[in-house]
């Protein structure tokens, strides 16, 4: 728990990340993502509760914890008067790397973060994307077991975003990674698990598929038939066993299941019905559910939800 004065920024956020896991940390702005990450990395102390990394408590053994962690802070800060090479050399020194190990480490992160074109440039002359990756390189320099990345793709162009996501996924095979984002595609692209927090509390925790299944849409069957009027179709579909309601969507119809767990059966039932009735179907599709719909549903304040309806 973290309180700033009377305001509780993070409250009752509790989770564990194992090696080999990439945890996506989702939430609207101001939800407490950065605060949580700052507590994990030991930058700010928790008001209450504890953080353990690799068996060390971050308040009692801060140096042990900090040695295990590579951290990319939210704004990707770096010293603007240094060159990229100078900055990485400084980071390597701070991590206790020396001699050949230091040279190898710097070479490795330059390759990983595609920095070789700007290596001798002063950081304040770099574009935002390069600056961001320079700070990311700093987080990777000691090949840490734990990576805490606060919005690692913020400010990058689509190609760079793609590269960084791939990098996170690759690194995730051998490390424990926590990264925050408010871009939902990234959860699919890189995470093995995602946590959604809102106003300082965890509101959802699961694999991307599990989160998607929480969507209203999950398991619904959408179909488009040319042979019959929409009204007649709606009537027949609604009468079908296992269908809770039917809604028109862009000229097609969507049947929602009563029981999401049994969604597979619904598609079969709809197709069987179409066969019996002799409908000509252009398209039948079982919906997967959409993360953004789940995200919106659980993080919108109640008043806004009412208005949206």
């Amino acid at each position: 728990m973290k309180a700033f004065g009377a305001k509780r920024a993070v409250d009752g956020v509790s989770f564990a990340v194992e090696r080999g896991e990439v945890l996506g940390f989702l939430g609207p702005n101001g939800a407490g993502k950065s605060t949580t990450m700052r507590m994990i990395t030991g930058f700010i102390p928790p008001t209450d509760g504890s953080v353990k990394v690799g068996g060390h408590d971050v308040v009692e053994a801060p140096l042990e914890v900090k040695r295990l962690i590579g951290y990319l802070p939210e704004a990707a800060p770096s010293y603007p008067d240094m060159t990229v090479a100078g900055f990485l050399s400084f980071a390597a020194d701070m991590r206790g790397l020396a001699g050949d190990a230091k040279k190898r480490a710097i070479g490795r992160v330059i390759d990983l973060c595609f920095l070789d074109a700007v290596i001798h440039q002063s950081i304040d002359t770099l574009s935002k994307g390069y600056r961001h990756r320079t700070c990311l390189a700093q987080a990777l320099i000691h090949d840490p077991d734990v990576l805490i990345l606060d919005e690692p793709t913020d400010g990058l162009d689509p190609n760079q975003k793609h590269e960084v996501r791939n990098l996170i996924r690759e690194l995730g095979a051998s490390k424990a990674i926590v990264f925050s984002t408010h871009i939902l595609e990234e959860v699919d692209a890189a995470c093995t698990r995602a946590i959604i927090i809102d106003r300082g509390r965890i509101v959802a925790n699961g694999t991307p598929d599990e989160l998607r299944a929480m969507s209203d849409l999950a398991g619904a069957v959408t179909l488009h038939a040319t042979s019959l009027g929409a009204e007649a179709l709606t009537e027949k579909l609604a009468a079908l066993e296992g269908v809770s309601r039917v809604e028109p969507v862009d000229g097609a119809l969507r049947a929602y299941p009563q029981d999401k767990a049994n969604a597979g059966a619904l598609a079969a039932a709809v197709i069987a019905l179409a066969g019996r009735e002799g409908w000509r179907l252009d398209m039948v599709r079982t919906e997967e559910g959409q993360l953004d719909e789940v995200f919106r549903r659980i993080t919108l304040p109640d008043t806004v939800k009412e208005r949206a309806r």
């Binding site: 973290k2 700033f4 004065g5 700052r38 990395t41 030991g42 930058f43 700010i44 102390p45 801060p62 140096l63 900090k66 040695r67 962690i69 951290y71 802070p73 939210e74 704004a75 800060p77 770096s78 010293y79 603007p80 008067d81 240094m82 100078g86 400084f90 980071a91 020194d93 701070m94 991590r95 206790g96 790397l97 020396a98 001699g99 700070c135 700093q138």
Partner: protein, 247 residues
Amino acid sequence: MSAPNPVWTIARRELASYFSSPVAYVFLVIFLLLTGFFTFTAGAFFERGEASLASFFLWHPWLYLVLVPAVGMRLWSEERRAGTLELLFTFPVAPWQAILGKFLASWLFLAIALALTFPVVITVNVLGEPDNGQILAGYFGSLLMAGAYLAVTCMTSAMTRNQVVSFILSVVILLFLILAGFTPVTDLLVRWASPAFVDTVAAFSFMTHFDPFQRGVIDSRDLIYFLSVIGFALFATGVILRNYRAG
């Protein structure tokens, strides 16, 4: 080859950042011009007709009042403004190591500036036969005093993300510490306060403790005074930074 000590790593980066911008060179030139002006013109070096650097050291408390805060004001406020504080404090270093490293770098920079005043020593040696031990003591005291000024600036720099605010706060605190022992001020105080009180106040002043060095006397009490000002101000810097992080 073993990895360097983090205090040294931080100090080296800090010192390099002085010289990677024009600030360092502008500062050095202004410092040398001002010391020259005060020593020879305002301090009437030649008219005095004595082979000593009294007119040189006399002005140091006043010169440092403006120049040391200018050197130290960015130390922590810039880290706070740029967000690099978060980087620095998530590296595996203890806060005291970071505070000490940055302080030492700036102190070393001031030492370089002070060392570059060596022509004045040569001048006085060419013209006469000064007591070089006294001059050395003067330099030593001046460096210690610069360190104490700098530690105070370190502290005010940790209080804010704004360099200008840090500069002004620092000048005000330093001015107070100078004036507490400045003869015209103590003469005024004596009129309505007891001499014991005036002495106590003056004991907190830089002036009172810099004076013996100028006369070539290195007293352990003055050493302890300057070192405790440095120690206290750096400790306060640590407390301020911890409170800032705790929110």
